[in-house]
Amino acid sequence: MKILVAVKQVPERDAPISVAADGKWIDESSLSYTINEPDAYALEEALQLKEKNGGEVVVMCAGPERVTSTLREALAKGADRAIHIETNDLGQRDMLGIAQVLADAAKAESPDLILTGLQSDDLGLGQTGVVMAELLGIPHATIIMQVEVTDGGVKVKRELEDGWFQHVEMPLPALLTIQSGGNKLRYATLMGIKKAKTKETKTVQAAAVGAAPTITLERVYLPEKQKQTEMLTGTPAEMAAKLVEKLKSEVRVI
């Protein structure tokens, strides 16, 4: 079974975020990047499926040169090959344009299964996987916790709201978007890091930006407060004392 994992590189979770001078994106100059967390779970699911059923895990990522560090990490964790879709203009493509670039690269590989995270930690549109499946004309399921290979297809456990789940069966090839928490992430071993250096990373060029974006991001800014927050200050002991006073006199839970 050939499994293709589409991953995204995103700013580190704790990275200090500031709005860029043009107000249309964040200042990227001092950011450090990492793999999008749900995509890390998608990679883990792919590696576990390979360990159970055999086959090949190919990881792909679209973006500038910096994303190759994320691909190397995936190779060190156990992916067999990597595809870097080189493009410096992701910001000029809308989600449909980006899904098209990924779908083009996926088509060339003809995988049995495509896995990706359910959403990205930065834009959070939560659509790339579904749109890729639509562009490729293959079935999909989203927010998947478990994947089981069956005769000619897969049976997946899909998360629903409020603690409900559902099994869905579908033929291959198919695309699944993976929820975090369905499995335990592995770390790259020293041996894995060493082996990664001998593995292939193919670079392909993304097609030029085609259609004009259908939606545009006009402005980014700090969110407005929804509530008047009273900030309690002082030493930890002083802040604790002030809060207990509020819990007694205002909230009345003590």
Binding site: G124, H140, I143, G181, R219, V220, P223, M239, L247
Partner: protein
């Protein structure tokens, strides 16, 4: 192209209540733009729901009934809704941002070469659609640039279901052409894991722990505070994902929705998926080291500081106040 079309969601003849929040959004957007607002419901045997919908202020209620729509599948829904959207030709298609919508709406928008503006938390004049970036650290204004229709999904709690205007709406049956071979996936019946033993929704006081706790063994620190307050211990998703606390203690869109008298969030940054599960709390207290953490946007009282210093002091102070 004109008008606003709201796609309502039901399962087994029961509404997903978020549909009415999307309906309120649709009515308000239509009023602002001077457009008509219609709504549609898909399924099989949804007569009672249609009756309810016909009592709202709408230009038309579309009923998409088909045996192949009895159980939700993305293929069935995309096929049927593509046909309806083509026929109704709305300028805006609004949906509730549910798990089901996340499963099919991006593909539906793709059929029209459009991009769904997902998870919208406000609509301003323009219209400008506001959504969050970077786990709620920033807001972003989005605008439709293409020819449309413009597809938008509305996050829970953004609009109020009570604001839906009543009226009388004519009902129109819409029979989509769907063939069984088009439906590639076979959905099973929804199920729950082991019975829930913790009902957080009834707890008057909840102490909730997030990623900031760092290690599993540190959770004891927060457990002590919860015990001192007589509170239930809850968590944000990453804590349960790691197996540090059972899934049934999770608060958020994939866990429980709570509205206690006091919700004390420790080391929780406040991503939207968490906020939708707790923003009905009467009082919210947040302890976080990052003063820009989005949790402070919904907090009544905030403490910016190291939870490893603040929480033990707080436990001590609570015990002293209670004479424990």
């Amino acid at each position: 192209m004109s008008g606003v079309l709201v796609l309502m969601e039901q399962r087994g003849g029961a509404w997903n209540r978020m549909s009415f929040e999307a309906l309120a959004a649709g009515q308000q957007l239509a009023a602002k733009l001077g457009l008509e607002c219609s709504a549609a419901v898909a399924g099989d045997g949804v007569d009672a729901l249609v009756k309810e919908l016909a009592g709202k202020k709408l230009t038309k209620v579309f009923v998409i009934q088909h045996t192949l729509l009895k159980n939700y599948t993305p293929d069935g829904y995309v096929a049927a809704l593509e046909q309806l959207v083509k026929k109704a030709a709305p300028a805006y298609v609004l949906l509730p941002h549910t798990y089901q919508v996340r499963d099919f709406a991006p593909a539906l928008a793709t059929r029209f070469r459009q991009v769904l503006i997902s998870d919208v938390v406000a609509i301003h004049d323009g219209p400008v659609f506001v959504r969050q970036l970077l786990q709620g650290k920033l807001n972003a204004d989005y605008k439709q640039a293409g020819a449309g229709p413009c597809f938008v999904s509305i996050q829970a709690g953004t609009f109020r279901a009570e604001d839906v205007e009543v009226g009388t709406a004519p009902v129109e049956d819409f029979a989509p052409q769907i063939d069984a071979v088009q439906i590639r996936s076979k959905p099973g019946e929804p199920f729950r894991e082991a019975a829930q033993t913790v009902d957080l929704s009834a707890a008057p006081v909840i102490v909730s722990v997030g990623r900031g706790i760092g290690e599993q063994e540190n959770i004891a620190l927060v457990q002590e505070l919860a015990s001192a307050l007589g509170a239930e211990l809850a968590a944000s998703r990453p804590i349960c994902d790691n197996g540090w606390l059972p899934m049934e203690r999770q608060v958020g869109s994939s866990g429980q929705t709570v509205s206690p008298k006091l919700y004390l969030a420790v080391g929780i940054s406040g991503a939207i998926q968490h906020l939708v599960g707790m923003k009905g709390s009467k009082t919210v207290v947040a302890i976080n080291k990052d003063e820009n953490a989005p949790i402070f946007e919904v907090a009544d009282y905030g403490i910016v500081g190291d939870l490893f210093e603040v929480v033990p002091e707080l436990t001590k102070a609570v015990r002293a106040a209670k004479g424990q």
